[in-house]
Amino acid sequence: MFVSYFTEQPYSPLTQDKADQHYPWDHPARRLGDNVLLHSNRFVDPNELAKIYADHIAEYQLADELGFDGIMLNEHHNACYCTQARISIMSTVVAAKTKNTKIVQLGNPLPLWENPVQLAEDTSMIDLISGGRLVAGIVRGGGPEQLSNNVNPAFNRDRFQEAHDLLLHAWTVPGPTRWEGEHYQVRVVNPWAKPLQQPHPRVWVPGIASKETVEFAARHAYPYVCLNTTLEDTKRIWGLYDKVAKETGFEAGPQHRGYLMRCHVADTEEKALRQAREFMWLAGQFTGYGSPAWLAPSGYSSWEARQGRLNLEKTQNSFESQVANGTIIAGTPDQVTKKIRWWLENTRPGMLMLWVYDGRLDRRLGMESLNLFGKEVLPAVHAMGKELGLHDPFQINAPVSWDYASGKKKVAA
């Protein structure tokens, strides 16, 4: 069982009223309450932000010392709910500041790159600096990310596919070579920064709903990480993954399944529940509130698929209902351990990403919770993983992809 620590790194000094007002300087397209993309960065105090980064780096060091197997990192743009704008930069910091923990990027938004060979260089350098501790996850990136980076959403999936192919090519094919694709043309592919892990760092794919992305992950035998999905959705995703895996030629197991869980622990249940309410900061929309035209831009997926996604976004779940359905877990170490066991028994993931706290919670309390988790829950989760046979890809030395598992590609001697 691989257990990873995660935080969105929110800009917690932002008060709800600052997100819920109109301002004279607002862009005419910003609607009341929208807090991504066009929500003004006038609210950012650089001194506060510097402190946020410093505090999170300290947390990552603590998580490493506590024995977390991984630190999950992500990136978003023009967003108060996630101040981490460059996954490569924080990954490099974690690589330098920690000793044992894996650096789990979930993930690199491939279509945003104009030259994915540079991503191959970034990830290789992080892998080298960390001594081979990188997991280079990949994502399509949400709608606001396409707009923030001025990348055409109509070609998002095509660019994801081609950038993936080029990334793998740059990691594994001896150069110099040339890449003339539909979306990417690179005169010379010959990066001297090559990954330490051979044939390449593990690739994991996180997501919430997209059928095509689950199928993509399963065809490559890349682990798929469900991002805090409900039990029903999680089972539906695994069902699809298992089906495609069978069609591809392998039996999927716990090593292909990851789950991101919002899970807060404190010394009393009352305190844990009170503090866990911060998961509802900005109404619990961990991808931010924004116009449907940003969250699902025209062309990002089909009209029909986008209608489905927008209906999903409209679903407002109360804190209580999320505690009841297990998408938010909060309690004492014993209570939390029992609830995690329930999830593990019911969904059988090999990788668990623990989103320990969020929102405006004082970072001292966040550290306290992390500490408590590391000392009292983490060993129990590791033991449960062993007992339930929930092996992760590292434990069983699983091939990095179906290409290598099937023998289509071989690791260079």
């Binding site: 397209a29 707009l147 116009s291 449907p292």
Partner: protein, 269 residues
């Protein structure tokens, strides 16, 4: 008024065309929101002209060439559709985004166009102001921004926005595919326009919140001998908001340039 439905089969897919009226031909190229049938402007003009209104390739009822990536290529396909109908040289009226398509058609196929009429045209980088970025607005709000009032919008699109959302959205997707970046301009176009040798009318609505006046000014200054007119009390979507005012302006210009009496163009109808 009877309106003909014509489907023009090109190797790249079908182009849907609505046509009506008799006399010299006027091709009308629609805005990025879509054509939305043979509207009041078309009907008014069809009393004096043969009006040919294609749905641009990829928009409305026309097939979508998925390989299409830019507006000059969209203009080329539009030109091929006109050829297939034996139309040309011909007067072309381009509205907003359609103005950009018309200008590209004129500079890349000068023999196809003998009159160029552009209303609040996109396609050039404004020197003052910005072309409103539709991708930041909900489709319905972008359409509304093209009118001077909500009432004018509701008169043009009656029955509630939901009725039109899918069409607006699918047309926006096509615009995304061909005009996302740079957004709504072609840096080469102002240079190419300088070599045009056709009567041209450039107009701009004083209530336009989509395309700034400087775009119209760039066209007027670049096209030799271009006339310039401002339409008061109307927005970017003037063809919907004040169709009579647009029709009067167009007919006055075609009358003044002798196009309305040009026998040669009658053969095209």
């Amino acid at each position: 008024m009877s309106v003909e439905q014509i489907n023009v089969d090109l190797p790249h897919g079908r182009v849907n065309v609505l046509a009506s009226g008799s006399g010299p031909t006027l091709v009308v190229l629609h805005r990025d929101n879509g054509r939305f049938g043979f509207g009041k402007l078309h009907e008014r003009l069809a009393k004096s002209l043969r009006v040919v209104a294609p749905a641009l390739p990829g928009y409305d009822e026309s097939d979508r060439p998925t390989w299409l990536r830019n507006v000059p290529d969209l203009a080329a396909l539009t030109g091929f559709a006109l050829d297939k109908m034996n139309i040309g040289p011909v007067a072309v009226l381009g509205l907003g985004f359609g103005g950009w398509v018309a200008a590209e058609l004129a500079v890349h196929s000068p023999k196809r166009v003998n009159q160029l009429l552009l209303h609040s045209p996109m396609g050039v980088k404004p020197t003052e102001g910005e072309i409103a970025d539709q991708f930041l607005f909900e489709p319905e709000n972008y359409v509304k921004r093209g009118f001077t009032s909500i009432e004018a919008h509701e008169r043009s699109f009656p029955g509630g926005d939901a009725k039109y959302m899918e069409q607006w959205d699918k047309n926006r997707e096509m615009t995304t595919r061909i005009a996302y970046k740079p957004y709504m301009f072609d840096l080469a176009l102002p240079h190419l326009l300088k070599s045009l040798n056709v009567p041209a009318l450039v107009s701009w609505s004083t209530g336009d919140k989509i395309v700034p006046k400087s775009c119209a000014t760039i066209y007027k200054d670049a096209i030799p001998g271009a006339k310039y007119v401002e339409l008061p009390n109307t927005g970017h979507n003037a063809d919907f908001e004040t169709p009579d005012a647009v029709a009067d302006m167009v007919l006055r210009h075609l009358e003044a340039t002798g196009y309305l009496k040009s026998a040669g163009n009658r053969a095209a109808s």
